[in-house]
């Protein structure tokens, strides 16, 4: 469809309707004893909406109708009589012909496709212009209707505001639609996976050797046991990364809020936040390029043989550094929420600052800090690029941080960027992994947000 031409025409008509209605309403004589119901701009907008919206609606509907019409036109053409009868071959030829109609340089091996291409191009252009004409008629009709409504007593402002409210409502429902979309698509694809592989094999099996080329047989479940992935994710995200992020994040928050001068704080805090703003792919590259070889040399130095370049430790450490600012700002908020009176009371009793922090502030802020750590864990286990670039691909049930390890996110990315077909259970297992990841992070987030909320209310 000549979309650009149509858009320019419709917008042009909208502007004309706006200007005409605005000019017309400017001369309305004030009705005695009544307040003015709307400003000229409201009348203009009202007519413009009536011009543009129906036209776009018609154009949008036409995109659903026209492929059927084009199809009908092709089948009516004499060249179509020689199309192969079988569905599959027929679709191949038609697809080639469509590609050829779009782009004359496209490759087409089939002579029928070459014959059909001009027919398709003609039909597409014909129905495209037909749609544009219909849409313009709708614009004119809508615009005239809107213009006739522009009268002295017409409450255009109320009408416009009703439309605005609907737009606001629709925008805020996008969030719900996204959530529902995530849940629905994950559950739908996972259901396809679980119809081929038993959930018990998947959730409790300890052997993960995915092969997207293997024939889909009934014993697929033996190769798709996700426990090593869950362990790798937990070990890297919730143990190694947190061993770095919690002490560093907590101590830097304490230093920044309790010890640093306002001037030092105003410099150090933004610098710490730079760490949070660095893209994960940069951390991943740094982990693979610098941190991983360093850790391999370290492992060799302390006597670990066959240390690999990719290791759980390298990924976990770098991920921990990435999370530091997050833990720090959550701890910062929680400590700041503790009433000043508690701090003053402790200091007045003769406790030193560090004693006050350890015995009063941290216990009082603990729920908030724990919630912050939960959010940090949920972030760490959902992190993809660092583990993709530094942790390795081999599923490994081991507690040795110098070994390669793989995670849920790594496998999702690897399975879906591979060459596997979307009907193969191995590829579909990525969605089941996604469902597990989503569920776990959702539970962590909901609990954490609830704790934070209750914690804030407790001190208010």
């Amino acid at each position: 469809m000549p979309i650009t031409f149509l858009l320019i025409c419709v917008i042009g008509l909208g502007v004309i309707a706006w200007a005409m209605s605005r000019a017309r309403s400017a001369h309305f004589a004030p009705v005695a004893g009544k307040l003015k119901l709307a400003l000229p701009g409201h009348y203009g907008l009202y007519a413009a909406i009536w011009t543009v919206v129906p036209a776009l609606l018609v154009a949008w509907l036409w995109t659903f109708i026209s492929p059927g019409l084009v199809h009908g036109a092709i089948l009516a053409d004499p060249a179509a009589a020689s199309l192969p009868a079988f569905d599959f071959e027929r679709d191949t030829v038609l697809n080639e012909a469509f590609a050829l109609a779009q782009n004359p340089d496209a490759f087409a091996s089939n002579p029928i496709a070459q014959q059909l291409a001009p027919v398709i191009a003609a039909a597409q252009s014909k129905f495209g212009w037909m749609g544009a004409a219909l849409s313009l008629i709708a614009a004119l009709a809508g615009g005239s209707f809107g213009y006739t409504r522009v009268k002295a007593g017409f409450p255009a402002r109320t009408r416009i505001e009703r439309i605005v409210l609907v737009a606001l409502l629709v925008a805020s429902f996008v969030a719900i639609i996204t959530t529902v979309g995530i849940i629905a698509s994950l559950i739908f694809e996972s259901a396809r996976f679980f119809s081929m592989v038993s959930p018990i094999d998947f959730l409790f099996g300890t052997n993960w050797t995915p092969d997207t080329m293997a024939s889909a047989t009934s014993d697929m479940g033996d190769d798709l046991g996700a426990v090593p992935l869950f362990w790798g994710t937990f070990f890297i995200g919730a143990i190694i990364a947190m061993l770095v992020a919690i002490p560093f994040g907590l101590m830097s928050a304490i230093y920044l809020t309790q010890y640093a001068s306002p001037r030092a704080r105003s410099i150090l805090k933004p610098m710490l936040e730079i760490l949070a703003g660095i893209p994960t792919v940069v951390y991943g590259y740094f982990a693979a390029l610098t941190a991983a070889p360093f850790i391999r040399d370290l492992a060799t130095a302390i006597g670990i043989t066959n240390a690999s370049t990719e290791s759980a430790l390298a990924a976990g450490l770098v991920m921990g550094v990435m999370i530091i600012p997050f833990v720090s700002s959550m701890a910062d908020d929680s400590i700041a929420a503790v009433p000043q009176a508690m701090r003053d009371g402790s200091l007045a009793m003769g406790a030193t600052t560090s004693e006050t922090i350890k015995k009063v502030l941290i216990p009082a802020a603990l729920p908030g800090i724990v919630a912050g750590v939960m959010l940090a864990i949920s972030r760490a286990i959902g992190e993809t690029m660092i583990v993709y670039m530094a942790a390795g691909a081999s599923a490994n049930l081991s507690a040795n941080p110098f070994e390669r390890m793989t995670t849920v996110t790594y496998q999702i990315a690897a399975l879906l960027t591979g060459e596997g077909s979307f009907d193969h259970p191995t590829t579909l297992s990525a969605f089941a992994l996604g469902l597990v990841l989503f569920t776990v992070t959702l539970i962590l987030n909901i609990i954490a947000l609830r704790v934070v909320k209750r914690f804030r209310e407790a001190y208010e």
Binding site: T179, S185, S252, V282, F286, T417
Partner: protein
Amino acid sequence: MSNWQSPEATARLKKRYAAERRFKALGLIAIVLSMTFLAVLLFTMLKNGISGLDWAFLSGSDSTDPANAGVWSAVKGSILTMLVTLALAFPMGVLAAIYLEEFAPRSRWVDWVEVSINNLAAVPSIIFGLLGLAVFIQVMHLPRSSPLVGGMTLALMTMPVIVIAGRNAIKAVPPSIRDAALAVGASKVQTVFHHVLPLALPGILTGTIIGMARALGETAPLLMIGMRAFVSTPPGGVTDPSSVLPMQIFLWSDEVDQGFVQNTSAAIIVLLFVLIAMNGVAIYLRNKFETRW
């Protein structure tokens, strides 16, 4: 009763002060080590990449030969993707924030909206990639690896950030402004759009820039929707196959040829420069227009 000047008391006090100093030093060490990590990271990238950063690199496209490879095709892909994201996420986010803060009645539906926005802000980015793959590509059949699909996926990710920032900014506008507008006869919608929104705009823009900076550095969801193709010509429009800057970094980091180490680091410098500039603008906006009522 013990004397506070007795030797035991003095020793005790000394111990407590030593503990105090140790604790303070620990805090300082935590910050200094984090800063050192940042410095090492930046230094490594600068050392490896700065010599590869020239006009040919900035204006060239991807190539199998590291000496000829440049970032322009990826930068253009990033720009197109970000335009799509901004065009979708900004209006949606602002409108949703206005609705939730100014118009929403207390109802179960609105509670659900709030819960989903707060949760979406914390959902792992790769899950948005799965959504994009399942809905935009498999159901709606939009072109794979195009800035259009990438931008739509990132918009879903960025919108909750904008909504949360927008709500805070709108909340900060004092009620007296609304009361004054309503008192001279403005309707609720006029009050919000003529008075509340302009005053909240700096805060909303700050949040938007921060959300866009996050989207610009995102790789994982784009990996899911197939934006990892080798693209040697800059994309002409939002439906052409394209790459984005973080994806280019990822693809180059995988290359065996040593020459790509320099390219990867140089591309990282470009990306970090843009991100720091964006965050700088956000901080400037916040400081310049922040009003304390």
